[in-house]
């Protein structure tokens, strides 16, 4: 289900009459007049709601003798809300571009001539700065603490705080043998 389809469906469901229609159709397939009688609304109003429900993909229709029967599109309602949320956003590219622009702005603000001017206080900005710093570390390599400190010291004097922050942010991991960049095999 695309984002547009999900929005249309949720908008469509946020109406008591339409919800009542769906509840009725969950019991059995019905025609307009039957629904109108059952719900106490006029047949043209039921048709209005059914059209919206059909357009939203919630309902389908078929002809049975003289009647147009409406039925619930059950597969739509078997989709979990989490599945809908996990669908790739139609806006993903725009969001990625916005993120990249924000990231560049933070890096330009906090780095000058390849040196870190200050450690950002704001968590989001700090993460971006640390991600930038960790790029100096290779994947698939174990670094001693001294090596880590030397690399970080090229950017900022407070290498201890930055080293610890990198570990806290899971950008670097450590064991008795040393430090390594997390996410081996990932894009640098």
């Amino acid at each position: 289900m695309t984002e547009t389809e999900a929005i249309r469906l949720f908008k469509c469901l946020s109406d008591k009459s339409r919800l009542q229609i769906l509840k009725s159709l969950a019991i059995e397939d019905m025609y307009v007049e039957r629904l109108a009688e059952r719900l106490g609304i006029t047949a043209p109003t039921v048709s209005f709601h059914l059209k919206k429900l059909t357009d939203a993909g919630a309902v389908t229709s078929y002809k049975s003798q003289y009647y147009m029967m409406y039925s619930l599109k059950r597969e739509i309602f078997e989709t979990s809300i989490l599945e809908i949320l996990q669908e790739k956003s139609d806006e993903a590219e725009v969001q990625a571009q916005r993120d990249a622009e924000y990231r560049k702005k933070v890096i330009d603000t906090f780095f000058e001539y390849g040196k870190l001017k200050a450690i950002p206080a704001q968590k989001k900005k700090k993460r971006i700065v640390l991600e930038e710093l960790v790029r100096s570390f290779e994947f698939d390599r174990i670094y001693s603490e001294r090596e880590v400190n030397l690399i970080i010291a090229d950017f900022h004097d407070d290498f201890c705080a930055i080293r610890r922050a990198m570990v806290d942010e899971r950008l670097l991991d450590r064991s008795e043998s040393g430090y390594w960049r997390v996410g081996m095999g990932q894009r640098n």
Binding site: S14, S17, P44, S47, F48, K51
Partner: protein
């Protein structure tokens, strides 16, 4: 005589608009937003023809027949586009637009009948 009929008609329009407003609020409170909008559509039609009546009275002066002619002419002319829109929606099997246009057409039908009754002194 005309003044009385005009007052009656204005009262009818005011009353209908007020009822639509009440029903709109009730339906909104019941989360039936589209049906609440239908009431707003009806209220708009009443409001349009309340304005038409005041224009008819102003242009017709004291000529009762002229007021009636003007009002009924507009009550034919204005809904013609609604009728066309309804037929178009029907051709495309669009029950959403059909319902909206039908509400306007039903309302103007009721207005025309009420106008005629009040103007002919039946009520």
């Amino acid at each position: 005589m005309s003044t009385q009929r005009i007052a009656k008609l204005n009262h009818y329009f005011d009353n209908q608009i007020s009822l639509c407003g009440q029903r709109n609020q009730t339906l909104l409170a019941d989360d039936r937003t589209d049906e609440a909008t239908f009431e707003k559509i009806k209220a708009n039609v009443y409001d349009i023809f309340r304005t038409i009546l005041s224009v008819a009275v102003e242009t017709g002066k004291d000529d009762s027949e002229a007021v009636k002619r003007f009002f009924l002419l507009k009550a034919e002319q204005i809904p013609s586009s609604w009728e066309a829109a309804y037929q178009k929606a029907k051709r495309h099997d669009n029950a959403v637009d059909m319902r909206i246009e039908q509400i306007k057409l039903d309302t103007i039908k009721e207005i025309r009948e009420t106008f005629t009754k009040i103007w002919e002194g039946e009520v």
